[in-house]
Symmetry: C2
DNA sequence: TACTGTGAAGCTATTCACAGCG
DNA sequence: CGCTGTGAATAGCTTCACAGTA
């Protein structure tokens, strides 16, 4: 269709979830000085099939050139805009254990549309320390800090037990996007998005498939080829 | 494809991905001494709808009792078995930066069907140090260690650059399940499963939806309703 | 009665295959 | 010609609604 002036057609969730991968692949190509790429090549870089890639991109508008491919720079720019990464989103990380520390130091963030503006913890030993260039604040000041610094996205990197209450407090002061690393489901009112990242869940899914591969085997058979 | 010995019907991927959540909810209920639970209650704990839960569980068999509900202990046991968590899977973590450190210390793992049997890094400063009760080994010894310790699942917690090569080495010595935290796609031969966890991707998906909530706004407008 | 398990319907996502364009 | 963008077909997932059962 004649997409785009500001004419927003609904973009499918499955497509949105893949746009970051395409963006990453495009950045790599740009770094290597490549100016143009076909759906076949870009799909391979991102680990999907080309028909899927073309369908996904078609939801953004017609940014390809038939017979040629997609302009790397231009497509990257469009995806960046579509994902809302043209501006910097202020992020607060709640819980500065090993994981919170890792997240705070994660360089990709600062270069990709996000800025960590607050690190909060409950532990008096941590409060006041400088981590990744930020002073750790007290979780008691959560409401004040979130409001003062205009936090848009909250990252919960605490144990399960305090997670729901912390989430409620974030939502109460206007945060409508939460990334949850705590191993529990969070309930939030309509209009608030929660995404969950869970190491255990991922490993358990792998274990399920692994089990199917080695039905009764405790024995490792490293160089055995699988018979279907 | 071919159903296996114990009358295995293919369990849908979407269902497998939710079983860990159900298992967690059941563990919580068990801890609180609850013996029986309805689909409605369990679904609420896990954050899904009851029809979906019942459909999911129906793929495992008929473990519910009409008019009553599901036995907490028994259902937890069935899911544990189905996911392949009755035994302990040996896990190797490659890359002991902040993230690898966080993963190594993640208690849930050891109590839920996994055992971290190797921590590997490239950095001479780290090699030999004890982290979470384990001596960090050299990534140069990857092949020997993976074979000696029977590693079934490899966790890649390095930067993007070395990730593909490390993955290839894991696969070459028989690892067929990989959890990838590096921000890049990994390509693996048929028969090897890769799951990817990517903080940036998750935040970018949140940013997309957040942007739709506050269309042109730099201003925070918490109570504004969107007009279609 | 109060619940599960499931046929049937509806919805979303993926893939095929090719028309259409540069 | 070579490639994109997309109608049409297919596959997979979710939800409804209720028959069936302890």
């Amino acid at each position: 269709m004649i997409a785009d002036p500001a004419a927003r057609q609904e973009i499918p969730d499955a497509t949105v979830a893949r746009l970051p991968q395409y963006l990453r692949a495009l950045s790599d190509l740009a770094d290597r000085g490549i100016l143009s790429v076909s759906s076949e090549e870009l799909a391979a870089s991102a680990g999907v099939r080309s028909a899927k890639l073309r369908r996904d991109l078609s939801h953004l508008g017609s940014y390809g050139v038939r017979g040629v491919g997609y302009g790397v720079e231009m497509l990257a720019h469009e995806i960046t805009r579509e994902l809302g990464l043209a501006r910097d989103w202020p992020v607060a990380i709640i819980g500065v254990g090993h994981l919170g520390h890792a997240l705070a130091s994660y360089v990709d963030l600062t270069t990709q549309g996000f800025q960590v503006v607050a690190l909060l913890d409950r532990d008096c030993e941590l409060i006041g320390q400088v981590i990744a260039g930020m002073v750790v604040g007290s979780v008691d000041d959560l409401e004040r800090i979130v409001i003062e610094r205009g936090v848009a996205i909250g990252v919960i990197a605490t144990p399960a037990q305090p997670a729901q209450k912390l989430c409620d407090r974030l939502v109460a002061v206007g945060v409508r996007s939460v990334l949850n690393f705590a191993p529990c489901a969070l309930s939030v009112p309509e209009g608030v998005d929660v995404r969950k990242v869970d190491l255990s869940t991922e490993l358990q899914i792998l274990a399920f498939h692994q089990q199917r591969k080695s039905p009764a085997g405790h024995r490792r058979t490293p160089l055995l080829e699988v018979a279907p």
